[in-house]
């Protein structure tokens, strides 16, 4: 399986500021002093070895959109936040289509940040394309139709070229889509949200964003431990610090890195991927949170070794 992150930010798209861009340049130049940069190869090596990811790159700022490629002949993607503009563009830019033009969307929930890229998802405009929006909410079609209508958008939903279908799923039931086994699970979030588990060839990926884990999560029988069990990759909403998540931002429907590590350990997850980054966090902040999470995992000394990463727009994880 291959997971491609097109959008990893929570709530609202958060582009890099001009100050941050200049700071990166300044920092790289400062660090370069005394290094031999006499060839492009040496420059690449300097960037790779002397600069951190946050110093040379960026986590990006597009909202949720994660492609799950199980090798099947149809496309599979979780949520259509702003990241889906680039996802659609990438598909359109291939001279030879990689798959049949059938797009299976799995919708965590219909909050704006998870659907707002759709009006700029070019495949939706192409006759002959099929878009199947899967989800457990009754309101998905209403949300998408409302988004693609006046007064918010000039192209009405019914004018889109693609054939768009809404597929209602039941949580806990197993579905076969694009050669993968897919299961949904209800999550605690305003208006409900759903996590999705994708399984193929003995590999398991769980997409679990916009999900708050309350006090009950410490119970032995907490359902998410089973849902996450042995996942090769757990994409986990770690938007807030634990302190914020259980005080000021209690019931805001998001979780923390601490809870992510604890649940991942209990479920024997192999890799935990921090997701739904706060739009107020810059690259340095996200990297700091990642480093702290890796450190907390070490300190917690529980369960099997757990790899931890922080998702970035453009990231690919092969399983």
């Amino acid at each position: 399986m291959l997971v491609r992150f097109w959008g990893t930010r929570g709530s609202l798209a958060a582009p890099m500021t001009v100050q941050t861009s200049r700071k990166k340049i300044r920092n790289a130049l400062r660090k370069s002093i005394g290094h031999d940069l006499g060839s492009d190869e040496k420059i690449e090596r300097f960037i790779d070895t002397e600069l951190s990811f946050a110093e040379s790159g960026t986590y990006g700022g597009n909202t949720s959109c994660v492609e799950i490629d199980g090798g099947g002949d149809e496309y599979v993607v979780c949520d259509l936040g702003t990241g889906c503009r680039e996802y659609g563009n990438a598909i359109m830019s291939k001279s030879v289509p990689q798959k049949a033009p059938v797009f299976n969307v799995f919708q965590s929930h219909p909050h704006w940040d998870h659907i707002c890229g759709f009006p700029f998802f070019v495949p939706a405009y192409i006759p002959g394309n099929k878009i199947k929006i899967h989800g457990c909410h009754d309101t998905l079609e209403e949300a998408y139709r409302m988004q693609n209508s006046a007064p918010g958008f000039p192209v009405d939903f019914d004018m889109l070229g693609a054939d768009i279908e809404f597929v209602k799923l039941e949580p806990g039931k197993e579905y076969a889509v694009a050669g993968m086994k897919v299961t949904a699970m209800e999550q605690y979030h305003s208006g409900d949200s759903y996590g999705y588990c994708f399984e193929k060839d003995g590999k398991k990926v769980v997409y679990s964003t916009d999900s708050e884990h309350k006090f009950e999560s410490i119970d032995e029988s907490y359902g998410f431990v089973d849902f996450f069990r042995n996942a090769d990759l757990l994409i986990f909403d770690a938007m807030y610090s634990l302190a914020d998540a259980i005080s000021l931002k209690e019931d805001w429907g998001h979780s923390s890195n601490i809870i992510g590590v604890e649940l991942a350990h209990r479920a024997s997850v192999k890799q935990l991927c921090l997701f739904h980054h706060d739009p107020n966090s810059d690259d340095a902040t996200i990297s700091r949170i990642l480093a702290e999470t890796i450190r907390f995992e070490e300190l917690s000394e529980e369960g099997d070794a757990l790899k931890v990463c922080a998702a970035y727009d453009g990231q690919e994880i092969k399983l």
């Binding site: 302190a243 005080s247 907390f296 300190l299």
Partner: protein, 121 residues
């Protein structure tokens, strides 16, 4: 979980001993809430014998911190082990309660009468 205590003037100090996790957090939380509601000016938790704290232990502190605010009681923690100190920072609990390097520092900050009683042994 064994939780010793000591009174220094209007300040109550708790001395929990052992990991603060799922097995111990309930007892810790109950004791902590009692302490906050005991009519003292300040409650200090001496963390020097806590090798580890999990989210549920932190949650107990959050609940006690909220209670202490509404009761007008000062709640602080002191003498964190290096691991627990890191976990407080990672979870941003350093913004939830005041952390003192040593119990003596915490008591000094609490009140003069507490310090006098503490110095007196």
């Amino acid at each position: 979980m064994i939780i010793d205590e000591a009174n220094y003037g209007s300040t109550l100090v708790l001395y929990p001993d052992g990991r603060l996790d799922q097995d111990t957090a309930d007892a810790f939380q109950e004791r902590l809430l009692q302490a906050v509601s005991a009519g003292k000016e300040a409650v200090i938790v001496d963390f020097s014998k806590i090798p580890y704290i999990s989210s549920v232990g932190l949650r107990a502190i959050m609940i006690a911190a909220k209670q202490s605010k509404s009761d007008g009681v000062s709640l602080s923690v002191a003498a964190l082990t290096p691991t627990v100190n890191e976990i407080f920072e990672i979870s941003r609990f350093n913004y939830v309660v005041t952390i003192f390097e040593s119990l003596r520092d915490a008591i000094t900050a609490a009140s003069d009468d507490a310090l006098n009683a503490f110095e007196a042994g």
